[in-house]
Symmetry: C2
Subunit: 305 residues, 2 copies
């Protein structure tokens, strides 16, 4: 393992620990202003769905895209990252439900509806989604109100019918009728792409950066989003369940079409390398400050679990 790669892994790990610590605090029994009670079992279900030692890639992207700009407090970016992670985790909790993807296992642990019950999983997801907007708007998030409004709007658009939730609807429909290639591209841009794009754009929003830099980070986010999805589909095709900590080969079992299953492994590997080059080119204006985000693109394209 190269030194640069080791440094990256250690940064990923320290960020993930900071995210985990903040999320644990946000999901403690401490009530916030205006809250009437925090029912224990629901709180436990939320914690189960969130505090599971994930890689915290989305918060990492928020924190490191914000770190491109000298005026951003790291703790502030961390809070926005934690809000985004609440949305990501809620989507996993709901997607795992029997009526959706029906998964019993995630990261080697029972999913929320298995560890608790379906009602608890539905409500834990709902509460995590709601908490995300709470975190952005809360006074502890030290950002101008105009920035908070922009973040709420961008996050809602990324997560809602026009983004992630709509993508999950398309994904379920795809099991019944296989989409064409354009359909797969739209589905993936929504289901996984929208949150990853938000994660990268969020850095520029938090910094109050000019529109051209915001657009650049959006495009970087779209590029790593595409890479993430191709790497994921490739892993589903080639990895085994033990490495992944979850069921694999499920796409094929369900006859679910992916770009990788349509075009093959060689195409996927070459496309991944092209996307990494594209991400590097996009980040050129940020010169040496972009080192970590470039490394991130490599990591996303080459990850093996």
């Amino acid at each position: 393992m190269s030194e640069r790669h080791q440094e990256f892994q250690s940064l990923l790990k320290s960020n993930a620990e900071a995210v985990e610590t903040l999320l644990a605090a946000l999901l403690s029994g401490d009530m916030q202003t205006d809250e009437i009670a925090r029912p224990e079992r629901l709180l436990a279900a939320m914690r189960h769905g969130v505090l599971n030692g994930g890689k915290r890639l989305r918060p990492f992207l928020v924190i490191e895209s914000a770190a491109l700009f000298p005026n951003v407090e790291r703790d502030t970016a961390l809070r926005i990252g934690a809000a985004l992670e609440c949305i990501h985790c809620y989507s996993l909790v709901h997607d795992d439900l029997p009526a959706m993807d029906d998964d019993d296992l995630r990261r080697g642990q029972p999913t929320v509806h298995i560890a608790f019950d379906e009602a608890a999983a539905i409500l834990a997801g709902d509460s995590l989604l709601t908490l995300a907007f709470d975190i952005v708007a809360a006074p502890e998030t030290r950002l101008p109100d105009a920035t908070k409004t922009a973040l709420v709007l961008a996050l809602a658009r990324a997560a809602g019918i026009g983004g992630m939730a709509g993508g999950q609807a398309l994904d379920l429909a795809a099991e019944k009728q296989a989409p064409d290639t354009d359909g797969i591209v739209t589905l993936q841009a929504m289901k996984t792409g929208a949150l990853l794009r938000f994660a990268c754009e969020a850095g520029a929003i938090i910094a109050g950066a000019p529109e051209n830099e915001r657009a650049t980070l959006r495009r970087y986010g779209e590029t790593v989003g595409l890479a993430f999805q191709i790497a994921d589909d490739l892993l589903d095709l080639t990895a085994d369940a033990q490495t992944m900590g979850k069921a694999t080969g499920k796409d094929a079992d369900r006859g679910k079409a992916t770009l990788v299953s349509r075009r093959g492994q060689a195409w996927a590997e070459s496309r991944l390398q092209a996307l990494v080059k594209e991400a590097e080119a996009l980040l050129a204006p940020f010169s040496h400050r972009a080192g970590i985000l470039i490394e991130t693109a490599h990591f996303i394209a080459n990850r093996r679990n």
Copy 2:
């Protein structure tokens, strides 16, 4: 029917129509900035869950509490009311699911998971919850960013684990183990009270009113919230399914304790009248401008469906 009562009913109706029109526009096929696609079937499920001719009591409270203040545009209050209604409707869609209250019928129509399927109902609820925050933050909502931030925070707290979602968790738990009287009060304050309180407080937030007026409208909201719940429990005990357009007597069937089942119909009726008096007293500082909100308290306490 008194003339005043007729005027009130006609105002309730015209507000509900305005809310319905706005919600239909927000749930049209027109994509918003940053949205990638609006999958048709999911959109149809969202519309089914929202555009069902409800009384729109919560938006009414937002609009009429905002109308206490001369500086508020009615259209702006309407948008916040519509956002709140999205939250209310999402909660009904999720509460009706088989894993929760398992209801097939709402307002005489099949519930979303019956008309579509469970996955669509879960995703429609998720998307409506997300849309609520989108509406508040969107540029079409002409409010200062500080006001939007305050609304997002108050709405999230009212809807999340410390409010409505937490209340639903307690309600499900109550079917297994009957809570004591304090437990019932907390459950109801969360499950239905929190959104009603927000609805009334929202008028003052939208207006940028001073803290004492905000506190007054909060207390008014708590008071009509209590009245709403007692009237609801009373109706469940006494009304028939045809008048209600939904199953009744369900609380008793489930052995679910309410304050009304514990203390009886006479207590409930006298308590309702006391709450109306309390609401009137709270609104005294707004003098003649408070006529509609006073009428609303009477309406909530005396409703028969």
